[in-house]
């Protein structure tokens, strides 16, 4: 039977479908083989991610993947952290365009390397691998990967970091955990940022906690503002306590 339309004509097919090579590929003349594969689609990325992790481990560096929507305060957090963190760190920055984020960090004396993804909405393990060659891992204890601002796509890609930090800023709203479950499911810690704005927004910390509990009960939730040094210390402690041994 013809596989294009289900008709039973097997001769003079050219006129019927307009394919010059149709007779040649008549399935009746071919053998079919069903192949069970069971293969992760992003297997190649995962292998490269493990390679990155091994690379970090060989230099005793712990890597954290920072993910959130654009504008929730990833770069600002990284600008302010040196004050609270003894450990030396470098940052791999991912953005579609510009090196503005890396420039901001470099201006603060932080070693940063910018990846411009062009139109790609996420970093993958290969991009991070490329960036690692520009960073002296011997000189640092921690490497932050600041992913492209996006609550969807980066969740599907292991970039070879050890822990995932997901930010959610108060103005974005407490319903985002429910709306973007895959991302928050991947989080080892959820950091509610811009908490100094809590009095001005209808953001319920309780609701956020409930949602996170349903999806990812093992992750912690921290409430942070860069203007509140106690909250920054709590975040710094979390990072120190989650360094690889």
């Amino acid at each position: 039977m013809c596989k294009d339309c289900g008709c039973s004509i097997t001769q003079d097919h050219q006129g019927h479908h307009g394919h010059g090579d149709h007779l040649h590929s008549n399935p009746q003349l071919n053998d079919k083989k069903t192949l069970s594969v069971i293969h992760k689609i992003l297997d190649k990325n995962d292998v490269e991610a493990q390679h990155n992790r091994d690379h970090f481990a060989s230099h005793h560096v712990t890597a954290f993947n920072l993910m959130s929507s654009p504008g929730s305060g990833k770069t600002t957090l990284l600008e302010c952290l040196p004050e609270y963190l003894e450990q030396k760190y470098a940052v791999i920055e991912g953005d579609l365009e510009t090196s503005r984020d890396a420039d901001r960090l470099i201006a603060k004396g932080i070693n940063a390397y910018q990846i411009q993804t062009g139109s790609a909405c996420h970093l993958d393990a290969f991009m991070v691998h490329g960036a690692l060659h520009h960073i002296d891992l011997g000189a640092i204890d921690i490497c932050f990967v600041e992913n492209v601002g996006n609550l969807v796509c980066p969740a599907s890609y292991d970039v070879g970091t050890h822990k995932n930090i997901v930010l959610l800023s108060v103005p974005e709203g407490d319903d985002k955990i429910e709306k973007y479950p895959v991302m928050f499911r991947r989080a080892d810690v959820v950091v509610i940022t811009k908490s100094d704005l809590l009095p001005y927004f209808d953001f319920s910390l309780e609701h956020a906690k409930q949602q996170l509990h349903k999806l990812n009960p093992n992750s912690e939730l921290l409430v942070v503002s860069v203007k509140n040094s106690d909250s920054m210390k709590t975040l710094a402690n979390w990072i120190v306590n989650h360094q690889e041994q």
Partner: protein, 114 residues
């Protein structure tokens, strides 16, 4: 729209399997898409239709099986399947569960024309 890069990885795998098994074409590609894998099936299908034209899959049919979450509860020791995006055990409401399925996207089967 990371579905496009996912399809690129998928096509690479298909090309490799086709080569390994000396297949001329791939007739059908069967995937398992977990509901918490972060992939939108409609977008994936669209990306597949776009990218397949220049590959060994050019007249392949895409079959997607959507996989709900499968939870193994360590409190009541039962396995259950849930359609919602929660990992709380539907039977005893414990949070001590392990997600056994529903978070991955896998290539499951290929029908090859040799």
């Amino acid at each position: 729209m990371h579905e496009y890069s996912i399809v690129m990885s998928l096509m690479e795998q298909c090309e490799r399997f086709a080569q390994q098994h000396q297949a001329q074409h791939i007739e059908q590609v069967e995937l398992k898409i977990g509901i918490l894998s972060g992939v939108e099936p409609a977008l994936l299908a669209q990306a597949f239709e776009t990218f397949k034209l220049d590959t060994v899959c050019h007249h392949a049919k895409l079959v997607m099986n959507i996989q709900p979450l499968v939870l193994q509860c360590s409190t009541c020791d039962t396995q259950s399947q849930v359609q919602e995006r929660t990992i709380i055990c539907p039977i005893c409401h414990s949070q001590h569960t392990q997600v056994i399925d529903g978070e991955d996207m896998m290539l499951m089967q290929l029908i090859l024309e040799t």
